[in-house]
Amino acid sequence: MRNAIGRELPAHIEGYGHVRAFAGAFSPLPDMTRQAPRVKAARPGDCKLVNSLEEVFSRIPVRDGMTLSFHHHFRNGDGVVNQVLATASKLGIRDLTIALSSTFPVHAPMIDHIRSGVVTGLDTNYMSGPVADAVSRGILKKPVVLRTHGGRARAIECGQLKIDIAFIASPASDEYGNINGVEGPTACGSLGYAIPDAEYADCVVAVTDHLVEYPLSPVSIPQTRVDYIVKVDSIGDPKGIVSGTTRITKDPVGLKIADTAAKVIAASGLLKDGFSFQTGAGGASLAVAHFVRKMMEDREIKGSFALGGITGHMVEMLESGLFRKVIDVQGFDLEAVRSIKTNPNHIEVSAGFYASPFNSGCTVNQLDTVILGATEIDTDFNVNVVTGSTGVIMGGSGGHSDAAAGAKLTIVVANLLRGRLPIIMDKVLTATTPGETIDVLVTEHGVAVNPKREDLRDQLIVAGLPVRDILELKELAEKIAGKPKDIPTNDRVVAIVEYRDGTVIDVVRQTTDR
């Protein structure tokens, strides 16, 4: 069957089930209620502190076939997933589904666990490194489920993703299970991606390397939802956790694109008092933030909030009064950690608050503009952020589809040619974010506006911006570089790309040339 953006999908996928086809970014809400986790009781004097992961495994107990969940606030410095899986392997547990919100190179040991049958399912929002390569090659029998950040929260809350045990890497915890992310040697800032897990898992285990006296405050995850606390030597490598300062791109072409994107925002009329803004942590996005900041300073604009993915650059803008608030679902560097700890205008929010489409209002709905990247974009403005130029998985939506749907003005910044590769395709290899939610593509050779936005197109032309038809830009790229040949794939589905509402927007097929 074909879904609403014309992608060919099987009606049923082995290891996943019935496929609900993507039917538009804002298709009608199914009739449903939230799921409910098991009720617990704790007697006075009960001790939740457990001496080791092995002990926690036997106390719960962890059984074959369970779904274990983890957050990714420690990014490539995470230590908890590997420790938990090593314990599972040691105890002979098999057939686990691992629901971790993002997968990084540090998770490479998972490949052995997949080979040995400890892990048979993976549910994640972003993948890079050896695990992503292995999945692309077909190492898992069941296809990986790729979700958006908002979609994962929705799936947990509404029951599509049932978590048996949430292992929450906790920078700081007291002995009764109050957790926050702002204290301790591995402080990471906001714990936004852990909150839905904590609220809805049947069992919640805090894994910490920094146990403090009761009661901990501030409380991000409360004791009422935490069943066990395990103290380990280290929950991760602080150097890998936060990447230090993320830098603005130095590439002159990238800077030109960023400058043009800032001019698009100005021309749209959105750059006025009360302006709100989200950008990723990549070099090109940060560059746009830099140019927007200069414009705000020049025009003395007081914004309302910055959202993300928060870096020191956003913190600077908050502290210099350019924004009244920062809404933070994840900290990207130590400055973000410092600010969230000390500044009441820097707010920690859960993944659902940030981006879930099935609640009474997520923050992306309030966004004026978001700057996004892309590995590919097609002439319908559908964007690929899942597979790279060789068809291998090297990313995932993260918050991409969510922010694109919510923002008034969604801008994709990308080089028209990356090396020799044109970024505009007839059809993207893997659709992640549907074209109806993308307003503008900014490249070094011109700006393409989604035909649905005639109003915006006129504004940009009047402002003197180099507006071109997206087909024109595609042809220009192919004239310069030659037309690229398609990546060959076979029929086997290695990953399912779910849109934020749980429908399937595309699948990733195994590449043949490996």
Binding site: S389, T390, G391, R418, G419, R420, L421, I480, A481, G482, P484, K485, I487, P488, D513
Partner: protein
Amino acid sequence: MADICKVIQSGTLESSDIMITISPARKDSGIFIELESNVAMQYGDAIRATINQTLAEFGVKNIQIKAVDRGALDCTIRARMLTALSRAGITLNGELF
């Protein structure tokens, strides 16, 4: 009839460039191209075609080429090929086009 007598290199390993290494080949052994490219899937055939076309233009029939490509455009491939051929002693007569 043009033949190569020594090992010659041109180009660099920088992004958008192509490094060409040509070595002598035995008479009548033909054209042998070893290609390594980060865009092999999308442009491998096109790169080989450009290299072959350039060789044909200058009548080179026996040569061994190793090309390490980092996304070079056709005009860059041709330029680096011409530089390598020129360094190998094939005269270009100052007229490249």
